[in-house]
Amino acid sequence: MKEFGFQKQKDRQTDLDQIDLSQIASVLQIVDSWKRCIGCGSCAAVCTAGQFSSFNPRRTQMLARQGCYSTLALEVAKCQLCGKCRLVCPRDVDTRKLMHELKQLQISLLP
């Protein structure tokens, strides 16, 4: 193969054919309520960490569910586990527990 001296850009497309969701499946098993999220953003509206940083719990957990792991570890590390998000979720997702579980995952997911 000839080296052209540049790297092929990785596609930004979420490739659901390629992504391995097995780790996420195990989190879904532990935090069953996560399956009910409808992406309303209430958690992100009140998030303590989100007021001062780019952290967004709705987006972070959505990325996780689609297997977009590249920034997941960095993102969930910002969560302070304060539990405010859980008070407002209309679907009763145990968001705090979810963040906790995603924090556990981070080591194995670091790129």
């Binding site: 409808i38 992406g39 953003g41 509206a45 009140v46 407002v88 209309p90």
Partner: protein, 342 residues
Amino acid sequence: MSSKRIIIVGAGPAGLAAAGVLARLGASVTLIDKDPDMGGHLSKWHQLFPDRSSAQILLEQLVSEVPDEVSRIMGREVIGGNVRTNQVDLKLDEGTWITGDGLLLATGFDLFDAHRKEEYGYGIYDNVYTQAEVEQMFENGRIENRSGKIPQSIAFLHCVGSRDQKVGVSYCSKVCCVTGVKQAIEMREKLPDAIIYNFYMDLRMFGQGFEELYHDAQEKYNIRFIRGRISEAAENQQGKVIIKAEDTLTARPLKLTVDMLILLCGMQPSKHTANLADTFGFTTGPDGFLKPLGPSQNTFRTRHPHVMLAGACTGPATLTEAIQAGRSASLALYEQLFNIIN
């Protein structure tokens, strides 16, 4: 023929439509309502979606179809009763009983009590309203806040008391999305310079002409739609309402100060539903509304052949649906009582 007496509980759109049909067929009808006036919720609305027709004219039409022979017991609440073969006994709030051969329950819905979502400050802050109060403002022709000022910024919040497990309601109330869009357009017509927002999780514009109303709201009326649920509201020193949400489509938390926050409250089963279901041996659905025998057919039948259900007592419904249900159920009840089928 008129020896058989049919009792209709609820003189809202469904009950009125049913009374009209049954009276025309020659049945002897008694209409009971806890309110002093007929019309149910229809009497509280100003213009109807999607065509902005007059609620009052529709109400007058429905009432005019109920002839004088129909006996009316107004200002009396049905609080219980029992069902026997070929007979129904109803208990009224002042302790008397009334007996009929057939029964149609058209007890409708109650509006969700906005006080229960304390985080939105209804009843605490001055400028938080329900959409039902806004209908009254339109009816009176004056849009002003509690201190008599004309609002320059208005936010509607969808799904208050619907789709919210925190208040134990998981169902969608169906008519509040289109009502919110209709009211936003009406606000724009009255207040050309105001900034008007609708905060939604999903917009459920299911009926004929509904989605088109949404197009119009965007294109012609400059309504700003923000996909995110307001998580909390606060009040500032000027009595304005500060709201917090996530603008989910840009993935950023959002803060906004408005002169008026309008809560689009959902429908819940009317006060005595559980009690009536219990005394009559009906089941209720997961939403707590009365559950008819079948979801596609028999949508107005119960396990008692001479007792029918119609309208929003079986779940969130539009006027179209409530009126149709009232008419269909009354025909079925008539056939049943007068042995036209069997």
